[in-house]
């Protein structure tokens, strides 16, 4: 057996017991490295005769190639073994999952956004106004006459003046309707806006909160009519709750509209058949509406002979309660995480 064959034999004895990449590398160095035992044999070539040298050279290369090939085989074997071992791992994914903490939007925010998205699709711009408002806009310009009982219906919070004085004329706005006034003062017809926002009334029971949220729609243009109001309310309920639900208007009174009407929608839960939500009437009362009162137009300098308009308004909180089946209004303002977590999407 030649020295090369002996080395090959020695290598083969060792390579089968190697079981890591690092050891494999070490083995390669031991045989084929600069000072490796096979590489050492190559030095003998210098002392050989030319004809021997050729044969040795060929044998040396064969031996070196063989070792390299077998190293590679071993590497592949180890790799395969590692792969099989890896595949043997198991993890029980039926264990409780590790979730990122999820945050939630308040149902009022969620509902307001959905309402705004719907009204934007219907061509409305969004307007806002101050929560603390002057009676001039909250009442006077909206055709609430001084000392008229219509003002009592609003259960107004009055605000002291900056120096604590009463009778400042400043109130917590009792509705979003002052935004109608602001919109008509700052925009040119055609005006088509919705105004969502916080409003305040002195009222506190399971279905009333002293602070709540309304959304108000206003459309002012040439030849806007009650028929158009009805069509738009129907467009809204269809876009928001789905098509096929009828709406109904009932005459009512709000000082800033004439004629005025309450508007009801067929109950989206029972589709008019009667259920708990609609108290078996098949209808849900949504809010108030009507044609902008000529006196309101006059107060903002719009000629009621040239333009007509309509307005409507309803409660966002009530809508949120309806959509999410919230049983008690006060849950909305307590900030209890156990309540808030119920609105993940």
């Amino acid at each position: 057996m030649s020295a090369l064959e002996q080395q090959l034999e020695a290598f083969r004895q060792q390579v089968t017991s190697v079981d890591s990449e690092a050891d494999l590398q070490q083995l390669k160095v031991a045989f084929l490295g600069k000072k490796g035992s096979v590489s050492q044999l190559r030095r003998q070539m210098g002392k050989m005769k030319p004809e021997e040298r050729k044969a040795f050279g060929a044998a040396f290369n064969r031996c070196k190639n063989q070792i390299e090939s077998e190293l590679e085989d071993r590497r592949k074997h180890l790799d395969q073994q590692a792969r099989l071992r890896d595949l043997e791992r198991t993890e029980d994914l039926t264990m409780p999952p590790t979730r990122p903490r999820f945050g939630t939007l308040h149902p009022i925010t969620r509902t307001r956004r959905e309402l705004l998205a719907t009204f934007r699709r219907l061509g409305f711009d969004v307007a806002e106004g101050p929560h603390i408002e002057h009676e001039a806009y909250n009442f006077d310009a909206l055709n609430f006459q001084p000392e008229h009982p219509a003002r009592d219906e609003q259960d107004t919070f009055f605000v002291r003046g900056q120096h604590g004085e009463e009778g400042s004329g400043i109130v917590l706005r009792t509705h979003t309707s002052p935004v109608q006034i602001r919109s008509m003062l700052t925009r040119q017809p055609p005006i088509r806006v919705v105004a969502p926002g916080t409003v305040f009334r002195r009222d506190d029971d399971p279905t009333h909160s002293p602070m709540f949220h309304q959304i108000e729609g206003l459309y002012v243009d040439r030849d806007v009519s009650m028929a158009d109001l009805k069509a738009t309310l129907l467009q809204f309920t269809s876009a928001f709750f789905g098509t096929g639900l009828d709406i109904r208007l009932r005459p009512s009174f709000f000082p800033f509209v004439e004629p005025g009407a309450e508007f009801d929608m067929q109950c989206p839960f029972c589709r008019g058949d009667g259920c708990n939500v609609c108290k078996t009437t098949g209808w849900i009362e949504l809010g108030g509406s009507g044609m902008v009162h000529p006196a309101v137009f006059e107060s903002v300098g719009i000629d009621p002979e040239e333009y007509t308009g309509w307005a409507f308004g309803f409660g966002i909180d009530r809508m949120a309660m309806l959509l999410h089946g919230i049983p008690d209004l006060r849950l909305m303002f307590d900030g209890d995480v156990r309540f808030l977590e119920q609105f993940p999407c």
Partner: protein, 841 residues
């Protein structure tokens, strides 16, 4: 307003009564919404008139009487415990065996203390037709025995509707007004009670001008006053039909005089008053303004001090009624009364409202006067109606009358264009239907010009003032269901006013939700003491105060979001052991130091208003949970994250312990970094001051963290702009700097950044670069804050990492090393004046 269907039907000129369900439907369709209804009298259908034929004491019980009672066909034995049994021949209400009285009370044949009793003699209360439960109901002797009681007193069987009457419809606060609407809808006539006016009576009743005087300075407060003087009045209980009618409408029967005024009030919607004329000084009244501080005792025994703004009905000396609001105790009708003065008046609505509010009264009378009663025919009618009833039911004899007139609104003359009806309603209402509606309601219509009707509004409808008011009346009766839904198209593009602040608020909300927090909405008002910790930020003089809060704890508008979030924290800690991560985005309110700078058409109003500023507040607290991961740095991380989601780089700077509501050692100011500009402070962050938490209902030692973003002060950033990715790798160098624990890391980073910007001037090809290409300060990272072995107490070793890059080539180790050393040395030099002990480890 309660409406009796029975009474209403009496006023409709038609053969058959209208069923309550139909009345209800009609009223709701006309805008007189029926809120609820109650059916009465169904249970007393079996109750008949019984005649007492004999009365014998009960053999075993002193208080019981054994009655022989005739039921129309036979005599029955009935045991009765009442003390007011009438004499033989008297009539009573009798529930025979088999009757079922209200409350599912079944009448059976019984033995009472050993004596057979076949049926029961009933009281008003047992029949639910009155308030008197002390004794049995005694019927007029004219009632025929055996006849069902409800046939003789039809008011017993009734459906009562509760109407939600809107403030524009004073006429609907009486049955006549409601009947007028129903009659118009049904196209039938209105049948009003027949009257016997004084005119034309023989002998003539004298005009007594001295009975009522109207002062000159009260003309604006009293539009009309009709007075009747009556004598020989017998004050007694009212007849049963009237008592039942009043009872059905929720009114307590008192005596005929008072009941008649209430009855006419409910019938005509006109408040009336009766004075005991004998108790009026000189037997006359003066309608005048009160003297300031003049005392008066109202008939509910309240002593009030009048104002010179109040209108009173006085006798020759003292006020006897607060006009339109409440009568006085002195001249109240009593059982001894024999002469009365009957008042029917029209008082100025706003003045009555002011007066009622001034004294905290809200009466049936003020309720109607402040809405406006009919000062013309309706007033005369009500006055005569009451007069007639007093004559019929109290034996009164009118001995004189007078009338004074002050200022009252003229009847509105309105031109109604047919084109306007079409324009407002979007539909053509047939002319005859429109005219029938208007005339039915009492509007005088002259349609000689078919396109422009000349109309005069009736005085019972003070709400009909202009053209569109008549359009509404036409709409009410035409029916909103008959108006088609037809959408119009805007005549021009609708202007869109872009308001970036709402979009920004929405983005803040989204980023905080994304950070795993729950959004809360809390009340905008709070208690004053909850705002005290913010006094040095928002002084008390700037707090906006509610004049009439519902609770003292809700009397002030919030100046910060923290109090509301702490309220929510209390709720959460009390109820569960979850981690609490909350946020609120809402407005805070304060009076500005100088008036709001405002322009545009609303400026004049806006300058008078407090300032409202949008804020985002974040509250983190482990609560009672074991592992929440919430600490001061997660609070700063959340707010920095929110700013980053607005497209801004952000950092937290040291606060110098100046934020009063945060822990002095755990607080910072949040800076938004604007490319190429100075950092802008937009919020604060830190641990909530322990003193504030101690003042709350929270467990001892609880820590909670707060961050606040002043959303309106956050600079606006344009659309995110992309840059190419670096082609050459960056090289980083670490350094460890030892500084005192109290020295802010941000200041160390700042010193390094300053030193780097100087040093890099000499190396124009190299930049400081982090993950984000070209974003300067992010390239200096604080990797570790080491305290402990090898570092003195009170000191810390900050491990910092700086990255260098040349955009156009690879950087070499040698040049980076040299540059880095230079920067470190320069930075230490910058820090030394503030931190003499600073050293590189």
């Amino acid at each position: 307003m309660l409406i009796s269907c029975y009474w209403l039907n009496q006023m409709l000129d038609r053969d058959e009564p209208v069923a309550p369900a139909q009345i209800s439907e009609i009223l709701t369709s006309l805008g007189l919404e029926v809120e609820c209804q109650e059916v009465h009298g169904e249970c007393v259908g079996d109750v008949i008139v019984g005649e007492i034929r004999a009365k014998d004491p009960h053999p075993k019980a002193d208080r019981l009487t054994v009655v022989k009672l005739f039921n129309g066909s036979e005599e029955l034995q009935v045991v009765c415990g009442a003390s007011n049994l009438p004499e033989v021949g008297g009539k009573v209400a009798f529930a025979p065996v088999g009757a079922v009285l209200p409350g599912d009370f079944k009448i059976g044949a019984r033995q009472i203390r050993g004596v057979d009793s076949s049926g029961m003699i009933c009281s008003e209360v047992e029949l639910e037709i009155g308030h008197d439960g002390d004794g049995i109901l005694i019927l007029p002797t004219s009632f025929e025995a055996g006849v069902p009681l409800h046939k003789l007193v039809p008011q017993i069987n009734d459906t009562v509707l509760e109407l939600g009457v809107t403030p524009n419809r004073p006429d609907a606060l009486g049955h006549v007004g409601v009947a007028r609407d129903v009659a118009t809808k049904l196209g039938c006539g209105l049948k009003l009670p027949e009257l016997r006016p004084l005119e034309g009576r023989s002998p003539e009743v004298a005009e007594l001008p001295e009975l009522v005087t109207l002062d000159e300075d009260a003309q604006d407060r009293c539009g009309r006053y009709i007075g009747h003087a009556l004598q020989n009045v017998t004050v007694a209980p009212s007849p049963l039909w009237m008592r039942v009618q009043l009872h059905r409408l929720g009114l307590r029967a008192i005596n005929n005089c008072v009941d008649i005024t209430n009855y006419v009030l409910m019938e005509q919607g006109q408040p009336l008053h009766v004075f005991d004329r004998a108790r009026l000084n000189e037997g006359r009244v003066v309608v005048r303004r009160a003297n300031a501080d003049e005392p008066m005792t109202t008939l509910d025994d309240t002593e009030i001090k009048l104002s010179a703004e109040d209108l009173v009905i006085a006798d020759a000396q003292n006020p006897q009624a607060l006009a339109g609001v409440m009568g006085g105790a002195d001249s109240m009708v009593s059982e001894a009364t024999t002469t009365i003065l009957l008042e029917a008046a029209y008082f100025n609505p706003p003045k009555i409202r002011a007066s009622a509010r001034r004294h905290g009264f809200h009466t049936d009378s003020s309720y109607r006067f402040e809405r406006g009663v009919d000062h013309s025919r309706g007033l005369s009618r009500a006055s005569t109606r009451a007069l007639n009833l007093l004559e019929d039911l109290a034996g009164a004899e009118c001995i004189g009358h007078t009338e004074v007139v002050g200022e009252r609104p003229p009847a509105a003359q309105i031109t109604l264009r047919r084109s306007r009806v079409r324009r407002v309603l979007g539909v053509d209402v047939p002319a005859d239907a429109a005219k029938a509606t208007l005339t039915g309601l009492g509007v005088e219509v002259d349609d000689s010009n078919p396109e422009a009707w000349q109309c005069v509004a009736p005085t019972h409808r003070p709400d009909l003032l202009r053209e569109d008011d008549l359009v509404e009346e036409i709409m009410r009766f035409y029916g909103l269901d008959n108006i088609p839904a037809v959408a119009s198209v805007p005549s021009a593009p609708v202007e869109e006013v872009r308001d970036p602040s709402q979009a920004r608020i929405d983005r803040v909300i989204d980023s905080l939700r994304e950070a795993g927090l729950h959004e809360v909405v809390s009340m905008a008002f709070t208690a004053k003491d909850k705002l005290a910790p913010f006094a040095s930020v928002t002084p008390e003089s700037q707090i906006v105060e509610v004049q009439n809060p519902m609770r003292v704890q809700a009397g002030y508008m919030r100046t910060h979001l923290l109090p509301g979030l702490l309220d929510a924290l209390e709720v959460n800690v009390a109820h569960h052991a979850r981690a609490i991560g909350l946020f609120e985005v809402g407005r805070v309110y304060a009076w500005p130091e100088a008036p709001n700078a405002a322009d545009g058409p609303t400026a004049e109003v806006d300058r008078q208003l407090p300032r409202e500023s949008p804020r985002a507040g974040i509250l983190l607290c482990a609560g009672r949970s074991q592992a929440s991961g919430y600490d001061a740095r997660s609070a700063s991380g959340t707010i920095v994250h929110a700013l980053e989601r607005l497209g801004l780089a952000a950092q937290v700077a040291a606060s110098d312990q100046t934020i009063p509501f945060l822990h002095p050692g755990v607080q910072g100011r949040v800076l938004a970094l604007v490319p190429g500009g100075e950092p802008i402070e937009v919020g604060v962050v830190g641990e909530i001051h322990p003193d504030i938490l101690r003042g709350r209902e929270l467990p001892d030692g609880l820590r909670a963290y707060y961050a606040e973003l002043r959303v309106d002060e956050v600079p606006t950033v344009g659309v995110a702009q992309a840059t190419g990715l670096p082609r050459f790798p960056a090289t980083s160098r670490d350094l460890s700097l030892e500084v005192p624990v109290s020295f802010p890391a941000a200041d160390v980073v700042e010193a390094l950044a300053q030193a780097a910007s100087v040093a890099l001037r000499d190396e124009p090809e190299i930049i400081l670069a982090g993950d984000h290409f070209d974003v300067g300060r992010r390239a200096i990272e604080v990797v570790e804050d080491y305290r402990g072995k090898g570092v003195d107490a009170g000191q810390r070793a900050l491990l910092l990492r700086m990255s260098y890059r040349a955009p156009e080539r690879s950087v070499t180790d040698t040049e980076v090393q040299k540059l880095h050393q230079k920067i470190v040395v320069a930075a230490c030099d910058l820090l030394k004046p503030r931190v003499p002990t600073v050293r590189v480890r």
